[in-house]
């Protein structure tokens, strides 16, 4: 270790302490400053740690929590960037937190969620043993650019680690194409036709044309968005059979899912402690990663059944008579999955949607017109009231109006204290769909009222 790294670690630790004294999160800032002093600090710290990295557009945090749970249940020593600080700076902060001032990390494993734009720099330093790519969807165009650009970033990141084993989503034609020109070993995960809802090809797909030859894909089936059994009629590029597959959905409940999995040829019944199809994908991706990290399929199954995600991902709050549940939304694909989940609720409920347009949300809110809010219309009397909130609440109000929801049932409430007061008065469940920064703020107000973990804990 160099003298430079020593001082970088010292500084980073001092800043962390400082942040804690001030009761601030401080999950990224200390690492950012330490990296300025020693740009390869993460490489030094991660050298002897067996790392699994998770990247992709949607499901990073949930997948990481599922994987982490397996390490926890198996009694392994590990670290994880649990707070969603998933840029190079946040990852570095987490490693420093677990290091001695001489740069020795006392954990055997690391479960690292990595922003898709940060993958370029982070993978080379982390040298992960396993990399999971969950999926690729259009997301925050003003920040990431086109989805093919995000894909190129991830590819560049992986090129720095040719030995890393890739767990790729077989159903995502964009993600799967990473396997084509990289030397890395690949294992595939996905949802087989038997577990997919029988739907025609959706109009709004982020990948209509073959990534290799630009011919329109045909689909054997679609699970959601552009995910499914894709096939290019011209060049033959098609879905690879999954090594880790969901073959059947046995039960879909309000708070959990039961599914039949095929894990390297063996059938297993799994209980997933979350509802909705996008979490089924997160689960099977996590199973792949857990098994490939050498923890075994039984550890994976236990993790799916027991993990608690929290932090705005189907997180439950003890507010109002029937409780409130928060489901983070960031882009059309994820939002549509949440709306589909709402359509399956059989009781009466109220809905809160919070839209912000800050840096971490994406400053362009056009995406709300790609999301199928029309799906809420079909809820009829089950949907009691909709409250819209956040910096761009008026835009949500017109989006819902044009989706055919009676403007009289929509209320703008921008004051989070008043919003939480309202939630506390409800006799029926409240479901909350916030964007990222709205989630952070609203969650603060909610946990002050009813308890819960601060985001950096």
């Amino acid at each position: 270790m160099t003298i430079r790294a020593f001082f970088a670690i010292l500084l980073c630790k001092a800043l962390q302490l400082f942040a804690r004294i001030l009761h601030r999160g401080g999950t990224a800032m200390p690492g950012r400053i330490a990296l300025k002093l020693c740009p390869n600090l993460l490489a030094i710290l991660a050298r002897n740690v067996k790392t699994v990295a998770i990247t992709g557009t949607n499901g990073k945090t949930t997948s990481a929590r599922m994987i982490e749970e397996a390490f926890r249940l198996e009694g392994k020593s590990y670290l994880a960037n649990r707070s969603g600080a998933n840029l190079l700076s946040g990852i570095t902060t987490e490693f420093v937190r677990n290091a001695t001032i001489f740069g020795k990390v006392d954990k055997e494993y690391a479960v690292i969620e990595c922003d898709e734009a940060a993958a370029v720099k982070a993978f080379g330093q982390l040298k992960p043993q396993v990399i999971v790519v969950t999926n690729l969807f259009r997301d925050q165009l003003d920040r990431y650019g086109e989805v093919t650009h995000t894909m190129a970033n991830i590819r560049k990141g992986i090129q720095a680690v040719p030995e890393a084993l890739l767990c790729l989503n077989a159903d995502c034609s964009l993600t799967a194409s990473l396997a084509g020109d990289l030397p890395n070993p690949v294992r595939w995960f996905g949802v087989d036709q038997g577990a997919a809802p029988s739907k025609p090809v959706p109009e709004l797909s982020d990948a209509t044309h073959c990534i290799r030859c630009k011919t329109a894909y045909t689909y054997d089936y679609v699970s959601y968005g552009h995910l499914g059994g894709f096939r290019c009629p011209k060049c033959g590029y098609c879905r690879h059979e999954a090594d880790y597959a969901v073959t059947d959905l046995v039960a879909q409940r309000m708070d959990s899912t039961e599914a039949v999995l095929r894990i390297n040829g063996k059938r297993e019944l799994a209980k997933i402690n979350l509802p909705a199809m996008y979490n089924v994908y997160n689960a099977i991706g996590a199973v792949a990663a857990i098994c490939e990290m050498g923890l075994g399929s039984q550890a994976a199954l236990r993790a799916l059944a027991q993990f608690q995600c929290g932090f705005g991902r189907m997180e439950r709050f003890d507010l109002g008579q029937a409780g409130a549940r928060m489901m983070l939304v960031k882009n059309p694909a994820g939002c549509n999955q949440v709306i589909e989940f709402l359509q399956n609720i059989t009781e009466r409920f109220s809905l809160v949607i919070c839209l912000n347009d800050r840096g971490a949300d994406g400053t362009d809110i056009s995406w709300i017109w790609d999301a199928d809010f029309e799906g809420l219309r079909g809820l009829g009397g089950n949907l009691r009231q909709v409250l819209v909130s956040g910096d761009r609440a008026p835009d949500l109000r017109i989006r819902l109006k044009y989706a055919g929801i009676d403007d009289g049932r929509i209320r703008v409430q921008r004051d989070y204290e008043a919003l939480v007061d309202w939630m506390a008065r409800q006799t029926e469940p409240v479901l909350i769909m916030p964007t990222y920064t709205a989630m952070l703020e609203l969650r603060q107000v909610m946990i002050r009222r009813c308890g819960g973990a601060e985001f950096w804990e």
Partner: protein, 242 residues
């Protein structure tokens, strides 16, 4: 009364909420009891443009541009030019707007021929022009204040045969240099205001609808709607954007 809308290339030109414009036009016509049909014209569909009153073309990703150009040059380019000269109303946005011009020259000098329906061309710039912006429409386009979001790297320059759609009040517009935004030619409205332009700008939406109805029926009127929600969103952004 009835209006026939054609949504061109919804399969590839649907970058970020573009379809919100079609939803908005349809709803605002339906609320007034005007029958509306929307026909989607994806790549490979060779249906004629004749018989449509309003054509909408959105923006797209670079990835599909080649597929799109091949399809255009199989005869749709001629159809579009003829429809425009015939006075059909067009609303074209971002990529769809650039595409009606004569060409696009990339930042490193590669030239790509477009369909030449409008007297304008676009040159790629190094820095993307991204952000909320606002502009004032010219009197011939209704004169309303429009709030929107732009995200383009192309700088568009207008020739003498077209008029700008409006004057930039904050943001970049066509090129960030000459203060113009968008283009007007016959009944064509072209703009960089990407995605859902119309829902927050009901005055512009109604002006476009009226243009299409007037062409079809000689004279037309649109009954006023309750635009409280739309105006609230519009006014708040107009205030915010500097």
């Amino acid at each position: 009364m009835e209006l026939k809308i054609c949504h061109m290339y919804p399969d590839v030109l649907n970058l970020y909420g573009d379809r919100g414009n079609v939803m908005c036009m349809t709803q605002r016509l339906n609320w007034r009891g005007i029958e509306t049909t929307v026909r989607k014209l994806p790549i490979g569909d060779s249906a004629s443009l004749a018989g449509f009153d309003l054509v909408f073309i959105g923006g797209g990703q670079d990835f599909e541009q080649q597929v799109l150009l091949e399809d255009l040059h199989r005869g749709k380019d001629r159809e579009i030019r003829a429809a425009i000269e015939d006075g059909v109303c067009f609303l074209t946005i971002c990529g769809g707007y650039q595409m009606l011009g004569s060409y696009y020259e990339t930042y490193d000098g590669q030239r790509c021929d477009f369909i030449g329906a409008l007297d304008l061309y676009t040159v790629g710039a190094k820095e993307r022009m991204i952000g909320n912006y606002k502009f004032r429409c010219g009197p011939e386009s209704g004169g309303s204040l429009v709030v929107g979001f732009e995200n383009h790297s192309g700088k568009t320059w207008l020739g003498s045969a077209v008029q700008p759609l409006g004057t930039v009040l904050a943001g970049y517009g066509n090129n960030g240099e000459d203060g113009t935004e968008g283009a007007r030619y016959r009944n064509v409205f072209g703009t960089y205001s990407h995605g859902p332009l119309l829902p927050k700008n009901p005055a512009l939406c109604d002006h476009i609808l009226l243009t299409a109805l007037t062409r079809k029926y000689g004279r037309a009127e649109l009954a006023p709607l309750n635009d409280e929600a739309e105006n609230a969103a519009h006014d708040e952004m107009a205030e915010k954007i500097h």
